[in-house]
């Protein structure tokens, strides 16, 4: 299918749920919908990078199962206790997790990738911890950009890129449609995820986590509302709905997450195709 309109794909933050992007990518490939550039945030940046390098969906699935394992949270419990009793001194560069396992896993896939070598233009959004600004990364190493964008505050240590201390892109722009708008996209296919809310609270950490979810979901809604009205053409939101809560290490649910992503994409497909056939 050919179109004069420029199509961009945006994959928002959402941790393991972002594996749903593999299902979306499968649908776009099957339908011959040609994406010209890709933008990602946080967990979405990992899948956006794989899409930008045209990695096979099966490979995405297998890799997802090896990434989202509990070892990427190594040290969390011990460091949380230590931070409470004062034996762990926390600074702007600290995180509760020893990130060596996460970094090793990310380097195995993205370690050698450069933005300039990607098969299609690709950008990653992170947040400057000191200024709060959204930072768009599109140069240098892909690993550094993804690692920065993934740095959930307090949990993972921030990551320094170009002398800026960066954290999770979701803190400023969880579904960075604006980057695609700035880059001249007409049709924007945007896969976003909301964070689940808790019903029970047994610790201060749980309350903090809930507050984080409330903040993030409200940032997502308000930025989406603005981008939606600011854009000159169409934005197609692809919002997968999951039957149950998807926790960070639910690797056994990854095939189902991908399936939900595919289903959500197929719901938008008639509308996307209708537009493409009429431009």
């Amino acid at each position: 299918m050919n179109t004069k309109k420029r199509i961009a794909l945006v994959i928002g933050s959402g941790g393991i749920k972002c594996a749903a992007a593999a299902g979306l990518w499968r649908v776009l490939q099957e339908e011959g919908i040609v994406v010209e550039n890709v933008v990602g945030c946080s967990g979405g940046s990992m899948y956006a990078a794989l899409i930008a390098n045209r990695v096979d969906v099966k490979v995405m699935e297998e890799w997802s199962k090896t990434l989202w394992t509990s070892d990427i949270m190594q040290g969390y419990t011990e460091n949380l206790k230590a931070s409470k009793d004062g034996s762990l001194r926390f600074t702007e560069r600290s995180g509760l997790v020893d990130d060596s396992a996460l970094n090793r896993k990310l380097r195995e896939v993205y370690g050698e990738w450069k933005f300039s070598d990607m098969k299609m233009p690709f950008k990653v959004v992170a947040t400057d911890l000191l200024s709060g600004e959204k930072v768009t990364l599109a140069d240098g190493g892909v690993f550094d950009a993804i690692r920065a964008s993934l740095a959930i505050p307090i949990i993972f240590p921030p990551w320094e890129v170009n002398e800026r201390l960066l954290i999770d892109g979701a803190a400023s722009d969880p579904l960075p449609i604006d980057v695609a708008i700035q880059d001249g996209a007409d049709i924007i296919i945007a896969m976003g995820f909301t964070l689940d809310y808790r019903a029970r609270f047994r610790s201060m950490t749980a309350v903090q986590e809930q507050l984080n979810s409330i903040y993030m979901n409200n940032i997502l809604n308000s930025t989406y509302a603005f981008y939606n009205l600011a854009h000159h053409a169409e934005i197609f939101p692809v919002i997968p709905e999951f039957d149950s809560t998807i926790s960070m290490f639910d690797v056994d649910k990854i095939p189902s997450v991908i399936e939900q992503g595919e289903q959500a994409a197929r719901m938008q497909l008639p509308h996307i195709k209708r537009l493409l056939e009429n431009v």
């Binding site: 989406y224 509302a225 939606n228 169409e234 719901m267 509308h271 209708r274 537009l275």
Partner: protein, 111 residues
């Protein structure tokens, strides 16, 4: 996209059927502007036949809301289907729109 209009107690009820997107937005804009130019500024849009609203469709709605409200009227919705409601929620429209379960309730809200 089909649009029909009828009057009820000084309110114009617009019944829309189909998808509101970039293709149909110009027709809807023209139709609503025609209503407003005739002084019909109290509008109720019956969405029970609308299966989809895209970002272009939402911009049409926003334009109509601003135009009618600027003249002392409004655009109120009824019959919004679940898939359309999701989009209205995500895009913040439910914060600025008045929505009603029935067309009668929407009409009555103007009195």
């Amino acid at each position: 996209m089909e649009i029909h209009d009828r009057q009820a107690d000084g309110v114009t009820i617009l019944s829309l059927r189909g998808s509101i997107d970039a293709m149909t937005a110009p027709k809807i804009t023209e139709f609503i502007q025609g209503q407003v130019s005739r002084g019909n500024i109290k509008l109720v849009a019956d969405f029970s036949g609308v299966d989809y609203t895209s970002s272009a469709g939402l911009r049409v709605l926003l334009g109509a809301i601003k135009e009618t409200r600027a003249q002392g009227g409004d655009l109120r919705l009824t019959g919004v289907q679940p898939d359309v409601l999701k989009v209205l929620n995500l895009s913040g429209f439910t914060n600025i729109l008045k929505m009603f379960d029935t067309a009668d309730a929407a009409v009555a809200s103007y009195s």
